[in-house]
């Protein structure tokens, strides 16, 4: 699982059956300094997150387990909101990283 910031939304009405109604959002993964880590990616949102939110997400086959239909081709899913992320005494959430 990784720390990330929601940076945008994606609309795709024609998707694999079972993904209807699943929200898709752009994520920028973050490192322990709160800086961008790697390239942004699109993830399914299993929580009511939106642009600007700090979240954590799971990648790989487990990502599909958060969807209403679990046999779907999904390789990244937002798992939860992050209220505080302490990194060596700093709180990345409070810093607005």
């Amino acid at each position: 699982m990784y720390l990330a910031r929601v940076i945008g939304r994606v609309v795709a009405t024609h998707a694999y059956p079972g993904l209807d109604g699943v929200a898709l959002q752009w994520l920028q993964p973050l490192d322990e300094n709160g800086s961008a880590m790697g390239q942004p990616l699109v993830a399914c949102a299993s929580i009511s997150s939106g642009p600007g939110d700090l979240v954590h997400f799971v990648d790989g086959r487990e990502a599909a387990m958060t969807c209403p239909e679990t046999f779907v081709p999904v390789d990244a899913s937002i798992c939860g909101f992050v209220e505080a992320a302490h990194s060596l005494g700093r709180d990345l959430a409070a810093e607005g990283a």
Binding site: M1, H56, G80, A85
Partner: protein, 106 residues
Amino acid sequence: MFLADVLGTVVSPVQIPWLDGGTLLLLRPVLPDGTPTGKTRIALDRAQAGVGDRVLVLDEGNGGRQILGDASAAVKTIIVAVVDYVEQHGQLAYDHQHPTPLAPLK
């Protein structure tokens, strides 16, 4: 599995049900000598680890689901052990009793 240093805790008020009641920790993967390597991760703690500990992390799909005993769990990264010491080429590369300070943030 890989080695990582625990940097701190992650607080998540709303999350997928499999994580409820568990502790999430922020991890920095490290080489045996403590040099940071790879991507910063968040893991579910199953070994009562704390900040500053060096831990053993499982980040492979089915293994995580087996540990939780739930084939439908959307959990992949799990701390499975707190490391006491690491031996490399006959030398002590890490000793929990005499840990080297964590490399500071940038």
